[in-house]
Amino acid sequence: MVAFTLNGKRVSVKTEPATPLLWAIREHLKLTGTKYGCGAGLCGACTVHVNGKAVKSCQIEISSVQGARVLTIEGLSNGATHPLQKAFIAEQVPQCGYCQSGQIMKAAELLAKNPKPSRDQIVAHMNGNICRCGTYNRIVAAIQRASKEG
């Protein structure tokens, strides 16, 4: 049994300690906004925050989040009101949408530590998150918009 805080609520999961956090969040706790893309830490679709840091949840064993604060896309805001979510809507960023939770969670980490990132800083920070629909430039525009509009 592993207990942690998920989007501000105490939760516990009964599973093997080595279970990837991704599958615990998605299938055990049924928060499906966090996506499975590669299972190997290569695409970023499963990005969540653990104690404020963006991690690839497919690479994190559930046992390592005992007592930690885990934040997923569902907990980022109430009703898509986080500045990044508003900016992603304004820029109409998502296409198929499957990678977007991961993109937004990764970008949220950046803005939390660097509210005014340069384009190069954005690209360097986001490079681990693949988008096959190729929304990269729109993601950059949305992050810049969120940075400006807060």
């Binding site: 996506k35 190729g134 430039n137």
Partner: protein
Amino acid sequence: MTTMTSLEKVTSLGNKVSRRGFLKGAGGLTFAVSLGAGGVQFLTPKQAKALVGHTDMSAWVRISPDNTITILSAGAEMGQGSMTSVPLMLAEELDADWNLVHLEFAPADPKIYGYTRKRRGRMTTSMAIVGSRAVMMYYKPMRMAGAQVRKVLMQNAAKKWGVPVSQVRTEPSVVIGPGGKRLTYGEIAGFAKVPAILPKVSASELKKPRDFRLIGKSLPRRDIVGKVDGSAKFSIDVMLPGMVYASTVHSPVQGAKPLSWNEAKLKKLKGFIGTVKLKQGIAVIADNFEHVLAARNDLEVKWSKARAEGYNSEEALEKDYPKKSADPKTKAKKIEARGDVDKAFASAAKTYAADYRCDYGYHAQMEPLNAVARINGAGNRMEIWEGTQAPGRSRSGIAKALGFKTGQVIHHQMYMGGGFGRRSRTDYTIEAALISQEIKRPVKMIWTREEDINYGMFRPQTFQHLEAALDGSGKLVGWKHSVIGDGRRLLTGGAKIKKYYKVPNQLIVEQKAGKHGIRTKHWRAVAHVFNVYAIEALIDEVAAAQGMDPLEFRLKNLPLTAKARRVLTKVAQMSDWKKKRPKGRALGLSMTERSGSLGAEVAEVSVDRKTGKIRVHKVWAAMDGGIIVQPEAALHNVESGIIYGLSSVLKERATIKGGAVEQSNFHDYEVLRMADAPEELHVEFLDRPTKPTGIGELGNPGIGAAVANGFHALTGKRLYHMPFTPERVRAALKS
């Protein structure tokens, strides 16, 4: 009819209307519209029921007394925006207030919800959202249907007021009568009757483009909000009570069948439920997905022999294809033959020839293939949740595999985490259905990323030989193009050039490389990717040989169509073609035809001569897709095509050794990441007043040649093998 209870949440597109309520629903006006071979036809629910032969169907449009309008969307959604733009075309002619319109996915019933097209000589209906078809195919029928509904509303209002229908008109969701009388659509729905004989609408009664309120105006896509707050549901997100998990392991050598496997060992694993033998794999089933992964790891299968055994793709492409290409005995099919090619080449002042290669391409859609299936207790009804580009074909295919009639399969369309042509064949959903049928439980079946690649269906690899002949004045008068590979119906798209270059003497052929036993499939514009690359690279080479600027050569020496001249002129203006570029950068130009649309692209490239890494800094694209129904979404589609294409042009290659795919995940099947994306994409549409043509695949075919031609402008060297990996670029620089 199945109970939907909690599942309505899963399948609903963010509105509260249940599908079931449509025909049975109390109050309101319900319209079923058939888009069958006879064109658009309104049906009463009773007629519609008779047509499809079962009762679990819905209407296209429902207007409720509370003024909401529900329109079913036949536009399968994979990011291209069809889910919004297809019903929007109906709403346009209905003159609906778009803010009052709810959308739901149409059921998988092509007879009712499909578009009509000619296929092998006869008219068929299809819901397949492939080949950039959604807007193009539904443009007329959706508008006709909307106009018909509007007419019924106007007739009912006119009757109520006792005035001729000619004295009423509409504003969004309101009928206006003489003296400013008003009835909202909802009010009319409260008393109106759908007439027994439904009004006919002629094409001339449709709105003129200048009167459009929705078409041509960029409206927010309906799927966006759910995709930024995590609530959008893909099939992988579906949860059912009592659901178990499965994953299929296929042979490393494509096409081999399982003979035996170590079930006894698996039985000792925690949470393991069992295996199901499928035609080309073993599905392992467990109580949760991590236990499925453990069972996948421990599964050992003895496989049969298969045709693909011993097939090496690199060897075939390097040695076998060129040999067969040059051999007149190789089986060949004419794609286009005009004029007298032999004579044109014999009497030509100059001739040119070049060979081009392109590797296998994998779709790498972000959502690994998966589906959820639930057999009922009696074993005679299968419920399916999947994201598919072809709901009709998928549903009937599942039924066939199960030994069911189509009506025994209840189909729930979900969002697709990328399609790109892969999700128009739902072999993975059939697997899920067969598993559920055998184990008699609801199941979520997910292919791992590794499985998704291993058992992939690829854009075929090809070798191409092209020749061009110029007359004494340097005009292009002869053209030969042969493409060879193994991919049924996947090799020739985009090989015909007559829609932009009216070369008088042409011979374009497809040659068969023989069967490799490797699964091939449509891939965002498929054959256009390699054909357009080869065509436009050779044109550039011929232009350079004349000492001419490639734009000038096209404008002066090629027999261009008017449409081609327009997009070329436009892209030249957009990119400021003649302007000097920063040191170390150069421009490349290319043309693309796809699904009736035409585009021209310019890429600004640089290269790191030490590493061989090409970088594309800017792309300009001038696109003629006729009337653009949703400009913002169309723009995103072209941008997406450019990036998807560029990924394939610079990085993506699948190779097969001994019949087995060599790549396994994103570390060895590399795709374009943000750092490699061009800093600037400039896309413009020509806004021609012609009917809409395809947009979704217009961006990617041209980018290969634009990059190769830019590389030549920069270095004087040619790139003949896509993708242009650093290794190949270094070799070209040394050549």
